[in-house]
C-alpha cells in the first residue's frame, strides 16, 4: 500500500508543480482536476471514504467546471489563452 500512496503523492506533487508552471490556463485547470482526483484516490487508500466522495465531487467536478466557466467568461471579455 505504501507504494501506491507514495506514487499518488509523487503524481500529486508533480501535478501541483505543473499547474504552477504551465503556460496554457486550460491545461492548468485540467491538471488541477487530475490532482484532485489523485487526492480522492489517496483518501480511499487511507480509508477516509467520506472525504473521498466529497473530494471527488467537489474538487474534481465542481471546481474544474467553475474554473472552465470563469475561463469562458474571460474569453468573452477578450482574453486569449496561450496554447
Amino acid at each position: 500500500m505504501i507504494v501506491w500512496v507514495a506514487s499518488l503523492g509523487v503524481l500529486m506533487f508533480a501535478g501541483a508543480l505543473a499547474v504552477l508552471f504551465q503556460r496554457s490556463l486550460r491545461g492548468a485547470i485540467l491538471t488541477f482536476g487530475i490532482v484532485s482526483l489523485a487526492s480522492a484516490l489517496l483518501f480511499v487508500l487511507m480509508k477516509a471514504y467520506d472525504v473521498a466522495i466529497t473530494e471527488a465531487s467537489i474538487g474534481a467536478v465542481l471546481t474544474t467546471a467553475v474554473f472552465f466557466w470563469s475561463l469562458r467568461r474571460l474569453e468573452d471579455e477578450g482574453y486569449e489563452d496561450k496554447e
Partner: protein, 255 residues
C-alpha cells in the same frame, strides 16, 4: 516571459509548501504524548472519546458491538463520521452550511449576467446522448449517499455535491439554465434551511438543548436508526444540492 511578480508569487508558494512540509514532519515526530501522529497515546486525545465511545463502544448492558441488530448505543449511527458531523458537532455543520450559503449568494450577487457570445460551441452528439444516462446514475447515487449517510460513508454534503454534479454535467453539455428552475432551486434551498433550523428548535423545545435528539435511536445498522441524524442530513443534502446547482447556473449565465 514571466514578470517579476509572477516569479515572486511562485517563490512564495514554494516557501509555503516547504514550511508546511517541515510542520508536518515536526507533527509526525513530536514526542509529547497525544501530539505526535504516530505515537501510541491516542487515548489521551479529546477526539478519542468520539472514536472509541460513540459507535464502536459496547452498549450500556455490556458486550460486543452487534451490527445489524444492536440496540442502546449512545447515538445509534453505524457511520461514526456522520455521528460526529450531524449529531455531536451539528452546530459546526450549521455554520458550515451558512458559509456555503454566503458564498453562493455572493456569487449570485457579484457575477454579471452573461450575454450569449456569438460563437457558442455545441457539445458533440456523443456527449449530448451520454449525459442524460450519466446524470440519471449520478442522481441515484447522490440520493443513496444522502439517505444512507448514517449507515455507510457519505452524507448530506457529499451526496448533495454528487447531485449537483449531475446538473453541472448537463450545463457542461450545453444546456442553459431556465429562470423558472432557478426560482425553484432557491425556494427549495430556503425551505431546507428553514426546516433545518426548525429541527434544531424542536430539540430546544423538547429537551432544552439546540439540536438535541428527540427521536428514538432505533436499531444499529437498519435504515430507521440514528434519531434526528437522517432528517438533518437529508435537509443538508437538499440545501447543498440546490446551492451548488444554483451557483453553477449563475456561472453558466442566463439566456
Amino acid at each position: 516571459m514571466k514578470t517579476r511578480n509572477e516569479i515572486l508569487i511562485h517563490l512564495g508558494a514554494l516557501l509555503l509548501v516547504a514550511a508546511l512540509a517541515v510542520a508536518a514532519g515536526l507533527a509526525v515526530t513530536a514526542d509529547e504524548p497525544g501530539l505526535g501522529l504516530l505515537d501510541a497515546g491516542v487515548e489521551s486525545r479529546p477526539s478519542a472519546r468520539y472514536v472509541f465511545k460513540t459507535v464502536r463502544a459496547a452498549p450500556p448492558e455490556g458486550g460486543a458491538v452487534v451490527e445489524p441488530g444492536g440496540k442502546g448505543y449512545e447515538n445509534g449511527a453505524a457511520n461514526i463520521v456522520t455521528a460526529v458531523v450531524a449529531d455531536y458537532r451539528v452546530l459546526d455543520t450549521l455554520g458550515e452550511v451558512l458559509v456555503l450559503f454566503a458564498a453562493a449568494s455572493g456569487v449570485g450577487l457579484l457575477i454579471p449576467i452573461r450575454r450569449r457570445s456569438a460563437g457558442e460551441r455545441q457539445a458533440s452528439p456523443i456527449v449530448r446522448t451520454a449525459v442524460p444516462l450519466i446524470m440519471f446514475l449520478a442522481l441515484i447515487t447522490g440520493a443513496y449517499i444522502v439517505l444512507h449517510g448514517h449507515l455507510s460513508p457519505g452524507g448530506g454534503f457529499s451526496g448533495g455535491a454528487v447531485i449537483a454534479s449531475a446538473f453541472i454535467l448537463r450545463f457542461l453539455a450545453g444546456r442553459r439554465p431556465d429562470p423558472r428552475g432557478k426560482r425553484l432551486l432557491s425556494a427549495l434551498e430556503s425551505a431546507a434551511g428553514l426546516a433545518l433550523l426548525t429541527v434544531g428548535l424542536i430539540g430546544l423545545a423538547v429537551s432544552g438543548t439546540f439540536f438535541a435528539g428527540f427521536m428514538p435511536q432505533g436499531t444499529l445498522g437498519s435504515f430507521a436508526s440514528g434519531g434526528i441524524l437522517v432528517i438533518v442530513y437529508t435537509l443538508i443534502g437538499i440545501k447543498v444540492a440546490a446551492e451548488l446547482s444554483g451557483l453553477s447556473a449563475d456561472f453558466v449565465g442566463g439566456k
